[in-house]
């Protein structure tokens, strides 16, 4: 890979120079200060990236759904294909009255959107956008993502409970049941890859795929399971029963308005991005691109991620919704045994490769 192209190398170069500069200036604890500055800048850049991702994905969802439904989608706002539609949406959400139902549990009601949004931000920390472009390349990388994404269920339940609305309550109860039961196959489905690589570290998982994507190996089975469980984990159709517009009006976020609703919506998209990014990392070789493709690693990574995002959007606009008890049946009686089978297959694969 060409160093000129790589954003990660540039980042490494700049942070290295920053350390040298601070040392040269004689700043006390130069190493610590450089570390703090580096991570703060990265975190800031990540926040900007997340906002832009959410904006882009909302627009993309509108466009993808519109084209599947023989519509144009937004065409006017901003001129070219309604590119600024989501910005207008966000401004609208900002200007909306922030309604808290009279009988609501006010603090829990206020807290819920924050509780759902923060974990999805933390998930971004360990996503390997590129070699050297990982917020924190932790040894427990993937575990951190799954661990924090399970907090989302708490928030949805908080939102559903505190709204003092029967539809919200049922949405909250449903999501508690659904997300807890789909978390298990989700984690088990990536276990095959982890067994092969022997590490939970995101960068090592990507590097292990230098010889070929895990998608084109027996891990394909794990990939399919992961996509199914992942769709359920982010509550998108056909598993969007916590929201279930035609039954529960809007489920747990029925009573939310304005920016708080915006946070729920935003986190749905960031969670979708994280699920897709993990799929790209685990099964599609992350930032790795063929030698003949002179693209920066981050672009390759984003392309792969958005391929999965598109897949999830495709699901959403073509499938009907499962019923809640059938969903649980499917999770426990089909998906869970299959993910055990997946581990078995992966185990044989690991043995054979030795």
């Amino acid at each position: 890979m060409n160093a000129m192209y790589d954003l990660g190398d540039l980042w490494l170069f700049l942070t290295g120079k920053l350390g040298e500069l601070l040392a040269w200036l004689g700043v006390p604890f130069a190493g610590v200060v450089a570390f703090v500055i580096e991570k703060s800048v990265y975190a800031g850049a990540l926040l900007v990236f997340i906002s832009l991702t959410a904006l882009w994905m909302i627009w993309m969802e509108r466009k993808v759904s519109a084209h599947m439904q023989l519509r144009y989608g937004p065409m006017w706002t901003g001129g070219w294909h309604g590119w600024s539609q989501t910005i207008a949406d966000m401004i609208k959400l900002l200007l909306k009255e922030d309604v808290i139902p009279e009988k609501a549990d006010r603090w829990v009601h206020r807290l819920a959107p924050i509780v759902i949004f923060v974990p999805s931000l933390i998930g971004f920390l360990v996503i390997p956008f590129e070699k050297n472009l990982i917020g924190a390349d932790l040894d427990v990388g993937i575990l951190l993502i799954f661990g924090f994404s399970s907090i989302a269920v708490l928030s949805i339940f908080m939102g559903g409970w505190s709204s003092n609305n029967k539809y919200s309550l049922m949405g909250g109860l449903r999501s508690a049941a659904q997300m807890v039961s789909y978390e298990i196959p989700l984690v088990l489905s990536v276990l095959g890859v982890i067994m092969t690589v022997g590490s939970l570290k995101m960068s090592e998982i990507v590097n292990a795929q230098a010889g070929g994507w895990f998608l084109f190996s027996p891990h394909l089975f794990g990939f399919i399971l992961y996509i199914v469980a992942g769709t359920a984990e982010v509550n998108r159709t056909p598993f969007d029963i916590p929201e279930a517009e035609s039954e529960l009006v809007s489920g747990y976020n029925t009573e939310y308005s304005g920016l708080k609703y915006g946070f729920f919506m935003l986190s749905e998209f960031t969670n979708t991005f994280i699920i897709s990014a993990v799929a790209a990392t685990f099964f599609m070789g992350g930032w790795l691109a063929p030698k003949w493709l002179p693209l920066p690693g981050i672009v390759v990574f984003l392309l792969k991620t958005y391929l999965i995002v598109y897949l999830l959007m495709w699901f959403r606009w073509t499938f009907p919704r499962l019923r809640v008890d059938r969903l649980m049946d499917f999770g426990w009686k089909v998906l869970l045994p299959l993910s055990f089978l997946n581990i078995f297959i992966a185990g044989i694969w690991v043995l054979l490769k030795k």
Binding site: M68, E245, E247, V249, P320, R323, V324, R326
Partner: protein, 376 residues
Amino acid sequence: MKENPIITTDNCAEFEEMTLNMGPQHPSTHGVFHLLLKMNGETITYARPDIGYLHRGMEKLAEKRTYQANIAMSDRWDYIAAMSNNFAAVLGPEKLMKVQVPKRAEYIRVIMAELNRIASHLIFFGTYGIDIGAFTPFFYAFRDREKILDLFESVSGARLTFNYFRIGGVAQDLPADFIANTKEFIRFFRPKLKEYDTLLSQNVIFRDRTVGVGAVSAEEAVNWAWSGPNLRGSGVNFDIRKDDTYSVYSEFDFAVPTGANGDCWDRYMVRMKEMYESTVIIEQALAKIPEGEIMAKVPRVIKPPAGEIYIRIEAPKGDLGVYLISDGSVNPYRMKVRGPSFVNVAILQKILKGWKIADVVAVLGSLDIVLGEVDR
């Protein structure tokens, strides 16, 4: 897996019932329809349909209006199948006055009623997709319904409330290109029916949601006075167009699709097949339509002789009946409308018990009610 579990005090020692008012403002009650549900968790233990939010006093209003004005009123009963309502509104006075409607007008009426049946079933198809959670079929249905509305616009000038039928005929003759356009539409529409099947009907999740859900036996369906596609979905082969024929329906050769189990899937499929049969009828009518008058000789002031009459037609939703009492004046003395949606919706209190809240939407959607007709 698909049985209808019955909750008794034995198998559920202690539970608190939750009362949920589904509607009148709810995205999938198809209008202002209120369903009072009592639930144990997600399972329905008690259901009561509550209607009347869209009551406009149509029957009382009819007593103060002339027979012609009542045709315009009839557009608003079942506002997505206004042609069929027109049909029911004109048949009564015509029979009382013993008007001989010209053949051409009869054919035009049949074509319009069948086109309207397709349009009405298309709305059912689209909204039922949304009820089950698939949004996309809705847009496909409306794309094709638009073409039917264009045809209606070309003959009547309106796209929803047509006011096209007259006592003794129809308002205007067909425009010159109508027959060609309708043939073109049928050519366009028939492949679309297969598209709908691939899009929704054969979807695994859709079948999982509808097969076996909300089953109504043939006996039950008859006892609850069901009619139309709902009745035929339960396996009763009864179609007024065949069994109590009116207008020129006896001259056409078409099949009456029926279901087997009377579940949501059967009711859905009956409607999908009926759309095809409607195209068959329209095709025959277009081929055989005679030239001639479109209006019988009727007096300017319609004053049917005193007497009473009950007529019924096969509307898209079912058996649409009109009971008319004339006292010999220009206004009907009484005009009772038997709306099929009104009769079909009553069974909800019986069949919803034991199903989940998601099934409530599936069953309600499969009945294909229009609140304008339920409440009138």
